[in-house]
Amino acid sequence: MTRFADLSIRVYAAALPLYPPELRRDFGVEMTAVFAEDLEEAWRSAGLAGVIRVWSRAGWEVVRIALPGLVTNPAIGVPLLSFVQSVGALTTEVLLSHGRLSAPVLLLPGLAAALTSIAAVRAGKLGLPVPLEL
């Protein structure tokens, strides 16, 4: 477990830049320490299932807390959305060339990309803070 735990802690610490800068600056070290303790305790009490639980919780927190901050930050959000759109377009093209897509489905990636772009631009223009849940 020690090697896996070390690797896990390193991966968690490496993902910290995804979180809002103030949170990372003030609590990054503590967050990593708490993650490490949680991982150790989970391994002791529930083995692999516990470790998976700790990691899934950490992953969910990235989606819930880190990603909204990234998307509404224009410096990161715009390139990120462009990347997502490119991947969507490429996937659509590949599926189309293999005859696996029907016409209405073609509209969905574009619609989703347009909606997320509008949401990000609106949040950026209005200077809204990222809604972090307490």
């Binding site: 949170l23 003030d26 503590e30 708490v34 993650f35 303790e37 950490a58 990235v62 819930r64 307490l134």
Partner: protein, 113 residues
């Protein structure tokens, strides 16, 4: 008529609840909060420290000195008087809701046997 305050977010409530029992460091708060919620609220490090950050800004909790001989790398947190009164207010609000639901004879208010 007095306007009631909005309910506390679950993580903030549980952190205040955990600290009402005494000063604690981050991991101890997380463990206690999970215990208090019977595993219902799965707080991870990011949720914990996002809430701690907000509670510190609100002045509801504060950083305190750890007990003698404690690990100097750990930061300890304690509840403040305004935090204590916010917690009491929330508990009172919950109590009122339970009383109301009992008065309305809602099935969900009946204790599970």
């Amino acid at each position: 008529m007095e306007q009631s305050k909005p309910p506390l977010p679950p993580a903030a409530f549980l952190i205040l609840f955990a600290l009402a029992g005494g000063d604690k460091h981050g991991y101890a708060i997380m463990r206690e909060a999970r215990k208090l919620s019977d595993g219902g609220l799965n707080i991870g490090p990011a949720t914990l420290y996002t809430s701690i950050q907000r509670l510190l800004e609100s002045g509801w909790i504060e950083e305190v000195a750890g007990p003698n001989g404690s690990d100097s790398r750990r930061r300890y947190y304690g509840i403040t008087r305004p935090g204590d009164s916010a917690l009491s207010g929330e508990l009172k609000r919950m109590e009122t809701m339970v009383k109301k639901s009992k008065a309305m004879r809602l099935r969900s208010a009946e204790p599970v046997s």
